[in-house]
């Protein structure tokens, strides 16, 4: 235990104790609310007697569909955590195979009999058996908090993303603002990481990551303003339904490009991966994280962010789940999201890294002006009567 030498030390100790109690209390509240949600499935056609199962097995189907309509299923399985985690694992494997083909070599090949499909599982198992090292002098509480916080915030943002009109966890009338409110937590997370590991490289890397994320957040927000103007609503489902005649990418191509590039900067992928530059800053703000701490931040949370940005790109600009009727809408959504994910993963093998002053200057000067230019294009198109907001 560190000694208390002054009043501020005492205050910090009190705040830490209160925070630990709040987190334990929060976990308790979440657990009991889960139980309430699960037992709120009381409108299910239960119980089914065994004789009923033998003579009338289709009663089970109504039970299963009733189960799939509950909130708990949506949070945990389909548009929620399991789906996104699986998508992230497949995206990780796909990224490594894609980069390998671009660099004229084979990627993961040996884990699993066919082309290394079990490689993500092998990676997770390896990381689970590694030791978690906390550097000396680091702030233990904050150091352990950050990986959990990154995963929690990434998961919270998938709650308002609709996979189709029926499959959404939380259908909010302010969906766009909820997403940007949750994504605004990431710069704080990076700063906490940078400060709590008592080391120079993570500190400089974390400051650069903070400046980069903060610089590219404004053009990101302003480029989605165009889609909001065209549909007249902040609800993500209304934004997709407003694209039923033509996709918004035809009317806002500049905004789509700005959204894509600023998404690359927010996810810290190439060409904006200076904060985790392996050759320059010794892996930047993550340098002191080992084992599963590293696996949570760099493995899981990054691919959840990739899913979030791909899904948002398809919802705002590519028409979401709208497609020809011979296949279900969820299939079209996943297909479009997968294509956008491939486009996000590709620049890593192609482009060199941007320098920090170059990328900050570009983010503020060029991308902000491009986003504002497209707002003016949108004003002209709406005044000319090409698009009518809220017509659907």
């Amino acid at each position: 235990m560190t000694q208390i030498r002054s009043f501020s030390d005492f205050l910090i100790r009190v705040i830490k104790i209160v925070a630990v109690l709040a987190i334990i209390g929060g976990i308790f509240v979440v657990a009991t609310s889960f139980l309430q949600i699960m037992f709120g499935m009381s409108e299910l056609p239960l119980p089914i007697s065994p004789s009923d199962l033998i003579t009338n097995p289709s009663a089970l189907i109504s039970l299963l569909t009733g189960l799939m309509d509950t909130d708990f299923f949506r949070i945990s399985v389909f548009p929620g955590f399991t789906f996104v985690a699986l998508y992230g694992a497949i995206a990780g494997l796909w990224e490594r195979k894609l980069l390998a083909k671009m660099q004229m070599r084979v990627g993961p090949l040996y884990a699993g009999k066919v082309e290394g499909v079990l490689q993500p599982i092998a990676d997770v198992l390896k990381l689970l058996f590694k030791e978690l090292i906390t550097p000396k002098g680091a702030d233990r509480f904050l150091f352990g908090l950050v990986p959990v916080l990154t995963v929690v915030i990434s998961t919270a943002a998938i709650a308002v993303i609709p996979v189709s009109e029926h499959w959404v966890i939380a259908q909010s009338d302010f969906g766009v603002l909820v997403i940007f409110a949750v994504l605004g937590f990431f710069p704080i997370t990076v700063l906490i990481t940078a400060w709590s590991s008592n080391s120079k490289f993570p500190f400089i890397g974390g400051l650069r990551a903070l400046h980069q994320m903060v610089a590219y957040e404004i053009p990101l927000i302003l480029s989605t303003l165009v889609a909001v103007m065209y549909s007249g609503s902040l609800n993500l489902i209304n934004i997709v339904n407003a694209q039923s005649t033509y996709w918004f990418i035809l009317f806002a191509p500049v905004s789509a490009i700005v959204f894509f590039i600023c998404g690359l900067a927010e996810m810290e992928r190439s060409p904006y991966d200076l904060p985790e530059a392996e050759s320059e800053l010794a892996s930047g703000w993550l340098a002191e994280y080992s084992g599963m701490n590293f696996g949570l931040i760099l493995g899981i949370a990054v691919y959840i962010k990739v899913y979030i940005f791909s899904a948002l790109f398809t919802i705002f600009f590519l028409g979401g789940w709208l497609g020809p009727n011979f296949l279900p809408p969820e299939f079209w959504f996943i297909l479009k999201t997968a294509i956008v994910t491939t486009m996000i993963l590709l620049p890593r093998g192609v482009l060199p890294r941007s320098k920090i002053d170059v990328l900050l200057r570009q983010g503020w000067a060029r991308f902000l002006l491009l986003a504002i230019v497209n707002i003016f294009i949108a004003i002209v198109l709406i005044q000319a009567g090409v698009i009518v907001p809220g017509a659907v």
Binding site: E131, T155, A159, V160, F174, K200, F201, I218, D357, L368
Partner: protein, 119 residues
């Protein structure tokens, strides 16, 4: 409006439920050995000297200041963008003047942020 924010917090809680066992498992399964060299801060092979928490760089401070102002401006633009038809032509003209007026201090700030010999 209240129920969907509750669901967002529930989803975050599920993420917490998934992340916490992945940090408890290595504590149970991994070998533990305390070693002074493992716990020292990493500096590419040097023996670390000086404090780990050096002072904040002020080089890109003006970009952070700009973020605060332009974030608030973006929220005002959202308020206008959603209610585009209700505010009509007058609202559009007023917002355009607002954007154009904000570009002047932005040009000033970018000019001074680019003068690297100052910072």
């Amino acid at each position: 409006m209240g129920y969907d924010i509750f669901l967002v917090i529930m989803t975050a809680g599920f993420g917490l439920l998934a992340a916490v066992p992945m940090l408890i498992l290595p504590k149970l399964l991994a070998p533990k050995s305390k070693n002074l060299a493992k716990e020292a801060p990493y500096e590419c092979g040097n023996i670390p000297s000086g404090s780990g928490r050096i002072s904040f760089m002020m080089q890109y401070y003006s970009y952070l200041l700009m973020f605060v102002v332009f974030d608030v401006m973006a929220m005002f633009l959202f308020a206008w963008g959603v209610s585009y038809l209700a505010t009509g032509l007058i609202g559009t003209i007023i917002i355009s003047i607002f954007i154009l007026v904000m570009l002047i201090p932005m040009a000033f700030t970018l000019f001074h942020a680019g003068r690297r010999e100052l910072w």
